[in-house]
Amino acid sequence: MGLCSNASIDIYLDELSSEEENPIFERIIKSAINSEDILISMQNEMDNILLEVVNDED
């Protein structure tokens, strides 16, 4: 926690996700909250989103 900020990455992510209007972006950001590796979590979530499209039978 520094001089002018007392927010952690998770708090920033939470704020970002609540400001985000695009549900896909919101989903990606939320996946990173409380994760050990933010990039990997977001990439995994993006993988899931794309696989859902490819696997969608309807």
Partner: protein, 836 residues
């Protein structure tokens, strides 16, 4: 909130042999000429608490330059170097923290003598909450390039997390790789689009796909197939899958009609779908699991029962005999009337029981036969499905494996493509051979099954070698695997040949455009998915841009407002009144979103200057650097309630030095921080001590340096005479306010304690801290030293009064005349005690 009570250093940096230093809970000053091991003390603390020293962290030439430098070069080889500190936490508990320096340079951590992996505060230090203000550390910030300064400041003010977050999103947008399945789907569809997008007649359809507009794509496709369909069919297009299939049928029928003028077979060879892949694997598994166990065991079970079928007649005969025997009351033979002995009776009963169980086994036979039949059905159906998956697509393709059709195909290829034709005919022939072998193997298995069924329904008496049949089935599955891979290989390695042929055929028949349209309709759902995928992947750039804006907004707010406000507060304390009005006026985040920089602004008499770095004197820049570090250290929420200040600036002019003295007092008194101050400037330290007489910290001097390490000696904070003169000067100064007079009173109390301490040491050899005396103890020391009773009373009364003054009601205020009177009594005491 930790304060440091004591440090022990052994074998670390400049310390070869063990040295101990006690720290004052408020202020400890350590003087040492350059290269006398002074900095080794601050480095030992920094290494222990932060894991490495900032000298190593900021080293431009890399950590290797400092490899092994933590361990003292003269330290005994087989001993462990260490740094140990006694800490007092906010609950007044004492904690022992020890770092053992391994030969590798790694640190082993011990908390109250228990080894731990990480310090309790390690996870909370998510920004530069370091309590160390060290030599040259300020130059990094102020003299760096504006763009580099952005990163340096982010570490100090705790926005590094934000920058890291931004980097993660940038990586997501620029380095994201699709999962394998998505990648395959994407590249297949992409390849289809690439291959056909140059067809002029379908240009608008592919343009719509590339523009990622699903609605436009649908509209353009409708328009393009309108001429091939009835108006009603076009209207129904895309409503649901069934209707789309009907429309597809119409298109295919149109094509078929045209192509049938040349070929009456479906010559397309398609890839296996993912459901084909899944079903193929699933049916293989079913077959192999049933054939190896249930099939063989089921057969032998039934065969065993069947072998006993011959005794059925005998059973019936005996059953009749037993009924007659029962009717004859089981005592005489129903045929001849002979009496039945007990032995014979037992024989008849046992035999009957045996026959009963035989009959039961035979009754189970039908049930077992039905179950076995189901096993055969399962294997049969699984093999049939595998057969269909493998051959369904091939039918038309391999049916041309006859002289007449192949000649026709050869003519379509033409002499210029004879090699391609040969390749294709080899593929057709190969797949035809595979299909024929498969059909024959399957036929053998199915016929065997038929015969086995007949055998168990009593139609034949043949027996079967089911182990052989089972191994035939296993071998058939292996063959199917091979066949499956061959088809895939043909499609993957020789797919171009097949496509080339189909294209030629389309050209030959004039169905080229129609074929593409059919393919688009077939892939309609895939193309919609493709557009969705493309849209999602490209939208990551928007996400990145959103995050960058968020981070910029957040950082700008912090830098332009909060950082500026906090630093200005400290800068205003340091800046001197006599300065020309050229001063730091704030920080500002500038630059583009991709290249941020932090400007350090300055103003002169209300007008903005180009930059503080170029406008401020060295001394003012140093003051600004100190302000940044102090603002950060004091405002930051940190587990460390102390500051280690090691020669932070090499040049502060006299005015700024004086101001810094006031700041030290403010940090100790207003922010309750412990300060450990190290410097090579004896003059400056003297100024600090004199300015903080009432604090009365600990003062050490490093008086020499040998191979065993620095010689550290504790010295008097100041002489009793200096202290007395300082108090009198304050009282004589007409500008002294209540605050200064209160400090003079506190100082007077220390002065009496200091004189009592000197007298105590002289009379009894005992040593006692000057701030540790009660008024009773002062009185006792003075009486024992033979001081006149009247003077002892006056001194004791003075000591009590000023001791109680900080508990006094608010209306109490120190008076200079009264303090001056007290001072005259202290002078009298010094004279009486013969102090020099």
């Amino acid at each position: 909130m930790m304060k440091i009570k004591k440090i022990r250093i052994c074998g670390f940096r400049g310390f070869n042999e063990l040295r101990e230093i006690d720290f004052n809970e408020k202020l400890t000053i350590i003087y040492g000429p350059n290269s006398y091991g002074k900095t080794s003390i601050s480095e030992a603390l920094e290494w222990l608490l932060m894991g490495q020293t900032s000298k190593v962290e900021h080293c431009q030439s890399g950590i290797n330059e400092y490899k092994g430098s933590y361990r003292n070069i003269h330290f005994k080889e087989n001993e462990n170097a260490y740094v140990e500190v006694e800490i007092v936490n906010g609950n007044h508990n004492q904690i022992l923290i020890k770092g053992l320096l391994e030969p590798s340079g790694n640190i082993r951590k011990f908390l109250n003598e228990n080894e731990i992996e990480s310090w309790p505060w390690d996870d909370n230090l998510d920004c530069d909450a370091s309590p160390f203000i060290l030599q040259h550390a300020l130059q990094d910030i102020l003299h760096s390039k504006p763009a580099d300064r952005y990163e340096l400041f982010s570490k100090i003010i705790g926005t590094k997390d934000l920058l890291d977050l931004e980097k993660e999103f940038i990586s997501l947008a620029t380095k994201y790789n699709k999962p394998e399945k998505v990648e395959k789907f994407h590249s297949d569809t992409s390849e289809f689009i690439r291959r056909n997008s140059e067809k002029e007649e379908l240009n608008s359809v592919f343009k719509a796909i590339k523009s990622l507009s699903k609605e436009k794509f649908k509209e353009e496709l409708k328009l393009s197939i309108k001429q091939d369909l009835s108006a009603l069919a076009v209207e129904n297009f895309f409503i649901n899958e069934t209707m789309n299939n009907e429309i597809l049928e119409i298109l295919e029928a149109n094509k078929g009609e045209t192509v049938s003028q040349f070929f009456d077979k479906d010559l397309n060879l398609k890839h296996f779908s993912s459901s084909d892949d899944e079903e193929f694997a699933n049916k293989k598994e079913i077959t192999l699991s049933k054939v190896s166990n249930e099939f063989i065991n089921g057969y032998y079970d039934l065969e065993k029962i069947l072998a006993k079928k011959g005794i059925q007649e005998l059973i019936r005969f005996h059953d009749l005999g037993y009924k007659l025997y029962e009717k004859g009351n089981k005592s005489q033979c129903p045929f001849c009337g002979t009496r039945i002995t007990d032995d014979l009776k037992k024989h008849i009963e046992d035999s009957h029981e045996n026959f009963e169980s035989e009959i039961k086994a035979f009754e189970d036979y039908e049930q077992k036969r039905a179950y076995f039949s189901e096993i055969l059905d399962d294997i049969n159906n699984a093999l049939e499905k595998i057969y269909q998956i493998l051959t369904n697509n091939l039918k038309g393709f391999i049916n041309v494996n006859n002289k007449e059709d192949l000649e026709k195909i050869e003519s379509i290829f033409g002499p210029e493509n004879i090699d391609e034709f040969k390749k294709l005919s080899l593929i057709i022939n190969g797949l035809d051979t595979y299909t024929k072998t498969l059909t024959s193997k399957k036929k053998y298995i199915f016929e065997s099954f038929k015969c086995i069924r007949e055998h168990f329904t009593g139609q034949t008496s043949d027996k079967f070698d089911v182990k052989k049949i089972s191994s035939e089935i296993v071998s058939l599955i292996a063959f199917c695997d091979d066949f499956y891979n061959q088809i895939k290989k043909f499609l993957d390695s020789d797919g171009d040949t097949i496509i080339f042929f189909l294209d030629l055929l389309d050209k030959y028949a004039g169905t080229e455009l129609l074929s593409i349209k059919i393919e688009i309709v077939k892939r309609y759902k895939d193309i919609i998915k493709f557009i969705t995928l493309e849209d999602l992947i490209s939208s990551l750039k928007i996400l990145r841009s959103n995050v960058v804006s968020y981070v910029n907004k957040k950082t700008k707010d912090i830098i332009d407002n909060k950082l500026t406000k906090d630093v200005l507060k400290w800068y205003d304390l340091i800046k001197t009144e006599g300065d020309p009005d050229v001063h730091f006026s704030g920080f500002e985040l500038a630059g583009t979103s991709s290249r941020q920089q932090i400007n350090i602004n300055a103003q002169s008499y209300g007008k903005s200057l180009v930059s503080a770095v170029s406008s401020l004197s060295e001394s003012k820049l140093n003051a600004l650097g100190l302000s940044v570090k102090l603002a950060n250290n004091v405002s930051t929420s940190t587990p460390f309630n102390f500051l280690v200040v090691d020669d932070p600036v090499q040049s502060l002019d006299d005015d700024h030095s004086t101001k810094f003295t006031e700041i030290i007092r403010s940090i100790i008194e207003d922010h309750q921080k412990q300060i450990i101050l190290l410097s090579h400037s004896q003059e400056w330290l003297k100024q600090i001590k004199t300015g903080n007489l009432s604090i009365n910290g600990d003062y050490y001097e490093i008086t020499g340096y040998t191979i065993s390490g620095p010689e550290i000696n504790i010295k008097e904070w100041c002489s009793w005479k200096s202290r007395l003169l300082d108090i009198e000067a304050t009282c004589n100064d007409s500008k002294s306010d209540t605050n200064r007079l209160q400090q003079a009173e506190a100082n007077l109390r220390l002065l009496i304690g200091q004189i009592a301490s000197i007298i105590l040491e002289k009379t009894s050899g005992k040593i006692k801290g000057i701030d540790k005396f009660s008024s009773k103890e002062v009185r006792s020391v003075l009486i024992e030293a033979g001081i006149d009773n009247a003077l002892v009373d006056k001194i004791s009364q003075t000591y009590e009064t000023i001791d109680d003054s900080h508990h006094s009601p608010e209306k109490y205020s120190p008076k200079s005349a009264r303090i001056k009177a007290y001072c005259s009594w202290v002078r009298e005491l010094a004279k009486s005690a013969k102090l020099t």
